[in-house]
């Protein structure tokens, strides 16, 4: 199956020129680097979104517009509701501090009415609607909100970015394929006389194709290794700096083991893609001839 990869010295001499002479290794190196960094960013974003969702999945807030008057009743109703793991009132001082960030000194003004707030952590099996109804009965006007709803715009933005990263990876793969097609056609043009002679003495299209396929596979492999090393260095550098912050926020590394495997497989996938595209392009071009 991989016979084409192991050409004899005589076969190798048919296509002259050492490796790294054409554009292929450089294009593949750049594309590998770009694909790995974009894919790493997409995976990190996806993981971050997952962690955020996990963190707020069962977290709810109860807002009581009337203020602290109804807080004890609402708190008691919440704590006695089945499925509530924890119900914690947010201290008014903390609320005012938060408001101060937005409103300035007016935020801590005692005249400014501040709603009372309770944060709830529910069990997985809890029924949020029933709990909300129970609290609203105890404290009419209380608003029961899922944290997830509040964060939904952010989560949506992260999802969009994740798909954007995936699309960019696919686009780069397509651009690589186009570059390989051009490189393969250029190589065919350069070696046209050799190909004519080979055909003349009875070479099959597959024999001719194998030579080009092997050359492009080796060039792509060299480029992919170079690009992967560069990308790994950049990612390590980022992991030691910027993403450490993200890691602190998330309490874990932004990339999982499976993500690292995915990233490691990307250069290999690119080499396989480039080789397949080269083979297809060369065969198609040869078949357009006589």
């Amino acid at each position: 199956m991989l016979d084409w990869l192991f050409a004899s010295p005589a076969e190798r001499r048919l296509l002259p020129g050492g490796r790294f002479r054409g554009p292929t290794p450089f294009v593949i190196a750049i594309m590998t680097f770009a694909m790995m960094t974009v894919a790493a960013a997409g995976l990190a974003l996806s993981n971050a979104a997952g962690l955020v969702v996990q963190g707020v999945e069962n977290r709810y807030a109860v807002q009581i517009p009337a203020g602290s008057g109804l807080l004890p009743r609402a708190l008691a109703a919440a704590r006695s509701a089945p499925g509530v793991n924890q119900a914690v009132p947010v201290p008014e001082a903390e609320m005012r501090l938060t408001l101060e960030r937005w409103l300035g000194p007016a935020g801590v003004d005692a005249e400014l009415p501040v709603p009372a707030l309770i944060t709830l952590d529910l069990a997985d099996h809890a029924n949020p609607a029933a709990i909300a109804a129970r609290i609203e009965t105890a404290a009419p006007g209380a608003r029961f909100t899922a944290h997830r709803e509040v964060l939904e715009p952010l989560l949506r933005a992260i999802r969009v970015l994740k798909w954007l990263a995936l699309s960019l990876v696919a686009l780069m793969a397509a651009a690589t394929s186009a570059a390989v097609v051009l490189a393969a056609r250029g190589a065919l043009d350069t070696h046209r006389s050799t190909i004519e002679v080979m055909h003349g003495v009875g070479a099959t299209d597959h024999q001719v194709t194998n030579l080009f396929q092997r050359k492009i596979a080796l060039d792509s492999f060299a480029g992919a290794v170079a690009g992967a090393i560069a990308a790994a260095l950049i990612l390590l550098l980022l992991a030691g700096g910027g993403t450490a912050f993200a890691g602190d926020l998330m309490g874990t590394s932004p990339l999982h083991g499976s993500d690292l495997v995915t990233l490691a497989l990307l250069p290999l996938a690119l080499v396989v893609l480039a080789t397949w595209v080269a083979r297809t392009a060369v065969l198609a071009t040869l078949r357009q001839a006589t």
Partner: protein, 222 residues
């Protein structure tokens, strides 16, 4: 452009293809060695209809045809040895099977000491001899040569002709396009095919019903 061609090449015969420049000799040879397909008409080689044969089966037939191109078509980055060895390697021969015959063939065309030379360092005549060695190395059933002696001296031309005749005697059908009247005169028994303006001149009809080759005919009929 070739037109109204209708002829048969007898197996094992020797043909000279002649005609003025532009008469269509090279085009006819290209059809013969399957480098080109006819826009109309049929070509039957080795008992097979090949005019519109699938591309994949053509290499097998091309391996049975040796070609000496007018412009040599040597692969410039390969040595003389590698150029001559190409048909054998393409047909899947191992290096052990390639070494002996190629050295022998190079010696025969007088280039034993130039085996590792690249075409650019060879004279026109030497390149011609390498091209001929490459064409005959795999003992083809048909040998097609386009002006094979155009770049060699008289002595080498005679040696090459002897090689062609020897191959012909072994059963190879030889078709040589040439202007060299001396070459034609020195090959008794060869038939002449004349092209003019893309059409064949065949007043005797011998090209439609070719006689058997003299050396294949029964002893008493030679």
């Amino acid at each position: 452009m070739l037109r109204d061609l209708d002829f048969r090449l007898g197996r094992g015969n020797f043909y000279f293809l002649t005609g003025p420049s532009g008469a269509g000799k090279t085009s006819l040879l290209r059809l013969l060695y399957l480098a080109q397909r006819p826009t109309r008409g049929r070509i039957r080689l080795f008992g097979e209809e090949l005019s519109d044969a699938p591309r994949d089966i053509l290499p097998g037939f091309r391996r049975r045809i040796g070609v000496v191109f007018q412009d040599f078509r040597l692969i410039r980055h390969l040595s003389a040895f590698d150029n001559v060895a190409l048909p054998l390697r393409i047909s899947g021969k191992s290096e052990v099977e390639v070494e002996g015959p190629v050295r022998e063939m190079l010696a025969w065309v007088g280039l034993a000491d130039r085996a590792s030379a690249r075409p650019a360092t060879l004279s026109g005549g030497e390149q011609q001899r390498v091209a001929i060695a490459r064409a005959v190395i795999s003992q083809p059933e048909i040998l097609v040569a386009d002006e094979p002696t155009g770049n060699v001296d008289a002595e080498m031309a005679e040696r090459l002709l002897h090689l062609f005749v020897a191959l012909n005697r072994l059963g190879t059908t030889v078709v040589v396009a040439t202007h060299d009247v001396g070459l034609i005169a020195a090959t008794p028994g060869a038939q002449m095919v004349r092209l003019e303006n893309g059409s064949m001149v065949d007043p005797t009809g011998s090209l439609r019903n070719p006689p058997p080759p003299p050396h294949f005919a029964p002893e008493g009929q030679r």
